[in-house]
């Protein structure tokens, strides 16, 4: 069909995909309707092959991973009642509510003292009383105890919340946290930007423009961030592409995003799952791979696409390495948020297991740090 077809492993069976193939192979940007069509098509292998083609041009055969430890300092969250998709949040006096003291948080970190950890991933609830200093103190202690380990912490939603709690600006919060050791920011809290979807699943959460604004400000200060989309609940394909378009637009402006991570909604133990009658079900393997591949194809300005094996399972995540994905997240010791929502995966994967999965997929395992600097090929 197309001149450079030789570089593609699979040709489309779905004829509607031909113009999209042509665009991608010519290096042209996909438009809104292209994105929607990719989600509508059942031609998973062709979409995967196209995403794989794009990924190989950007990242070769390298698959990045990081040895990291998740610390979730608190599950107390003022959005407990309104983020109906969440299984993690608690009200301050609810059963299971916790807030770690500095010592407790440091203890979580100490658990991995003997592992070659390069990143702490720190996110939690919007606690009504915790202030910037709580986090700053934790970051300083971590930096002192684990010099060289990078701190990827606090979503845009938490940053904006801290600014409100302290009645100060987002910039001020970011400056103080960066001084304390913040190296980069995770992409959580984006959910789906569409107003209608947010009104349904996360009514009181930071609005899309404000989420993007926090990231814009972080990027301006030289703090790289990740971005996400929580899919598989009430959103439409058009909502998904609108979301990706907004991310792409900000990336054009700042080039501050490192990686895009589509996050699969887990329906257990949360109000939304019960309301949708979806308990015990999860997103499908097709939809997981589609979200990753479409992310790779639509976000042409995004350096990396990450599969979160905690949600997608190790098996699907390994397959995803052929669907446009170049990052397998990390060893993820002690993950809480998704396990509360029914993720049946183990809480951590060993270094050796990750390397085996990458090699078994015919790729090169590249250990990275939080900023995607190559540490070592295994």
């Amino acid at each position: 069909m197309i001149g450079v077809a030789g570089e593609l492993a699979v040709q489309p069976r779905d004829a509607r995909l031909h113009p999209i193939f042509e665009k991608v192979l010519e290096g042209r940007r996909l438009d809104f309707e292209d994105g929607v069509l990719l989600f509508e098509s059942d031609d998973l292998l062709a979409i995967g092959a196209l995403a794989d083609y794009v990924n190989r041009r950007k990242n070769g055969d390298r698959v990045f991973f990081v040895a990291n430890q998740h610390i979730n300092p608190t599950n107390v969250c003022i959005l407990r009642a309104t983020c109906t998709f969440c299984s993690f949040a608690r009200t301050p006096r609810e059963d299971g509510a916790y807030t770690m003291s500095l010592e407790e948080a440091m203890h979580e970190a100490e658990l991995v003292r003997d592992s070659p950890i390069r990143e702490f991933h720190i996110v939690g609830g919007l606690h009504p009383r915790l202030k910037v200093e709580y986090y700053a103190e934790l970051f300083r202690a971590l930096k002192q105890r684990f010099p060289g380990v990078e701190i990827k912490a606090l979503t845009a939603v938490e940053i904006a919340h801290l600014a409100r709690v302290e009645k100060t600006s987002v910039d001020d919060v970011l400056i103080r946290l960066r001084e304390a050791g913040l190296d980069s920011m995770p992409g959580g809290g984006a959910e789906v930007f569409s107003k209608g979807v947010r009104a349904t699943i996360a009514q009181r959460k930071l609005a899309a423009e404000d989420y993007l604004d926090v990231h814009r400000r972080a990027h301006a200060m030289g703090i790289p961030t990740n971005c996400t989309m929580l899919y598989g609940h009430v959103e439409t394909y058009r909502d998904r592409i609108e979301h990706l378009s907004m991310l792409r637009e900000l990336q054009d402006e700042t080039h501050g995003f490192l990686t895009y991570i589509p996050l699969a909604y887990h329906p257990d133990n949360n109000e939304l799952g019960a309301e949708l009658g979806r308990e015990g079900t999860a997103t499908t393997g097709f939809d997981d791979l589609k979200n990753l591949a479409v992310g790779r194809l639509f976000l042409d300005n995004m350096p990396h696409i990450k599969t979160h094996w905690i949600m997608n399972t190790a098996k699907v995540s390994q397959i995803a390495l052929h669907f446009g994905v170049d990052d397998l997240e990390g060893t993820v010791v002690r993950e809480r948020i998704y396990h509360e929502a029914g993720a049946g995966t183990p809480q951590g994967m060993t270094f050796n297991e990750i390397i085996r999965l990458i090699k078994d997929a015919g790729k090169r395992p590249m250990e990275r740090d939080a900023l995607y600097n190559e540490v070592r090929e295994w």
Partner: protein, 408 residues
Amino acid sequence: MKALPILSTVAPRRQEPSAAGSMGHHTDTPRPEYVPAPVEARPHAAEIVHWLDVLHNTPMLELGARAHALRLERADPQTVSYIVDRNINYTNLCITDCRFCAFYRRPKDAEAYVLSYEEIGQKIDEAKELGAVQILMQGGHNPYLPLDWYLGLLRYIKEHHPIHVHGFSASEIEMMSKVSKLPIDEVLTQLHQAGLDSMPGAGAEILVDAVRDFIAPKKIDSARWLEIHEAAHAVGMHTTATMMYGVGEVWEDRLEHLLKIRASQARSLERGKGHFTAFIAWSFQPLHTEMERWNLPLGTGMDYLRMTALGRLVLDNFENVQVSYVTQGPKMAQLALTFGANDFGSLMIEENVVSAAGIDFIMPESEIRRLIEDAGYTPRRRYQDYNLVREGETGCPCCSARAPLAPV
């Protein structure tokens, strides 16, 4: 699962309950040394070399696309079928001690059981109420059950609880033949006449004797497994073929397995009576088995999809390739639908063998249908012979012809 009482007439006297409980029945053998044979020393050597080349030089998605193209040719391109059935494991008593199995109990184990005809009948009735069109009846290799027990059971089922009986894997047939001192074709003829409709493909594991010696030294060898299936085909029964990979074997072993099945299928198709209706691959589940301690590298996602695709491509004389959602989970099972598989297997109203090994992805019919539709196909219930269940049908047409079913 609740242990059920042993039939006093045929089972051994229980000595004393095993003190170690359900985990205590394994002997603690170290992992044996396995040295795979060189390709040239294997049957089908040239084809093994060819397929190894395909495997190593075909990009993952291209392999999938080739398998998918063949699947669209060989089976209805719009449909993904599945069967509503129930696994009935009539006994867990077994003397074969397969190192990969978490289900069996040795004769003196307190948890060893044999179900009574009535218990089996009750399970069938429950299953039929839930829409089951067959039972999958399998058990351990129980030397205390005479052939008449099986024949009586089949007659009892067909008379009082009529349903398609898909039952007794090759190694169980071997045990019946040993106990009755009758040749396998005689055993199979008698079983078929008593009501056995088709035979599952279990017990194939890897059809390479060097691997079998490693994981199941007391089980029938690969030639015997194939011989029993071909004998069942000759009697007029359809069977299925399976593979359990991830037990320490190499790709050469997997390919030899597929090529042996393919050759066997060619002989049966030539004979024109029964044949293999489907191929099903799954990965070894180590929990609670003797091999758990061997720390084998477990089957990955890539492994499963490559196995599914190669199964489809090598077995070009098979119509159907099933997924194994019970072992691979719903996500991987759905993905297999684009790597050569066309059937979602069985709803499994009850399943005991895989769940004994700690993995249990049993899901409701609505979820199976959702996954199939999400992949772009129409979900359809089917019978064991792969004919689709049609509106208003009241019994399995394949076996009701010779043993009429009571109206539902």
